[in-house]
Amino acid sequence: MIALAAILLSDLFAVVMLFGVYSLLTAALFMDLDAVDVAFTEAAVGAGVTTVLMLSSLHLTRRWEALPRRKPLLGLLVIGITGAALVYAVLDAPLLGDPTAPVHQHVTPRYLEQGAEEVGVPNLVTAVLASYRGYDTFGETVVIFTAGLAVLLLLGIHEDARMRPGVSAIGDQVVLRSVVKPLLPLILIFGLYVQFHGDFGAGGGFQAGVIFATAFVLYELVFGEGSARAVVPPGWLHRLAALGVLIYGGVGVYSLLAGKAFLDYSALATDPVHGQHLGILLVELGVGIAVFSVVLLIFYAFSGRSRRQ
């Protein structure tokens, strides 16, 4: 219903707010399905970062949806056929929790039964993400890095003389500044908690990176672009993003040099389980750094542009 309203409304500002609510409802759905890490990431990214980025791009373009010049009937036909095919495929899918479903055969019993002793990490999601499926997560990190690269190539970080430290669009809000200033270290501590607690509860590199970036986004919103760029210069962010990916890849290369497979964590320490812990720690650190710098970089690219360009 919210999706329908989002399609039908032409006031894009309301659409952005509706998307935020939609992400939140999806996060609640994930919580109900007991997928806490996914819900966490969805709430952080969908309701947080994406809303802010869409608002800043609305600020740069226009607020009301432009009417299409001609009726896109061919597009409607293509989408209709694809949608019908997808619905037909879904009808054949196994029910939730069906023990004979293909996803529950093959490797999954091994993850579930031996994950705790092989990897030694209580949160099985982190074990699968960072250890059993480490290659996929490496791919995801590189994809995030590439997205940051693409935004940099297309938009660039626009520095100009108007952005001096101390100049802020939200002018004279003493209360806001005084409350946000002490709040920022607390948010960063929460981000650190989420990063390192990923082994035990919901959390991990992706969520922590987004929380870190949110803290700096808040700083930029309240104190202005000049002050934000003085605190975290864009040059640092370029290097940090690369560093995140390099840490992840570096762990893999180290395993190769030690004579084992790429990203085989047992090469990191004498005791394999200890090696797994160390590997997961380093890998999540790489992911966190990469996600943080890329999200902040994208926000800098969007917010640095002014309207008339």
Binding site: I170, V175, L176, V180
Partner: protein
């Protein structure tokens, strides 16, 4: 002791719920933005700690209770700030509070300009 805690928790939850609904009704029924912001801001900032304390009294003391306290402090700090910032932004945007000074029923003298 347990009974006292349960009663206290129930009381907090009930009060918090009543305040929540009051705030919601105020949000709908008040005539003007500034009265709405006052209604929802004040009631929410009181309702949230009450509801969270009610929840706290129902949980055992553990890491979860510390997190509930943190949520409580965060909401207590950010909700009034957001309310203030919104009201200030609205004032900056040109809205002014609705004047009832011309209405003699509530003590106005009918002489002020709207």
């Amino acid at each position: 002791m347990m009974v006292i805690l349960e009663w206290l928790s129930g009381l907090c939850l009930l009060l918090g719920g009543v305040l929540c609904i009051t705030g919601g009704v105020g949000l709908l029924r008040m005539p003007d933005f500034f009265s709405r912001v006052h209604a929802s801001g004040v009631t929410e900032t009181l309702a949230a700690p009450l509801l969270l304390s009610g929840l706290l009294l129902q949980m055992e003391l553990s890491l979860d209770s510390v997190k509930v306290i943190m949520i409580l402090i965060l909401v207590l700090a950010t909700n009034p700030t957001a309310t203030h910032a919104m009201a200030k932004a609205t004032l900056h945007g040109g809205q002014r509070p609705l004047e009832f000074a011309n209405d003699k029923d509530i003590g106005g003298d009918g002489l002020s300009k709207p």
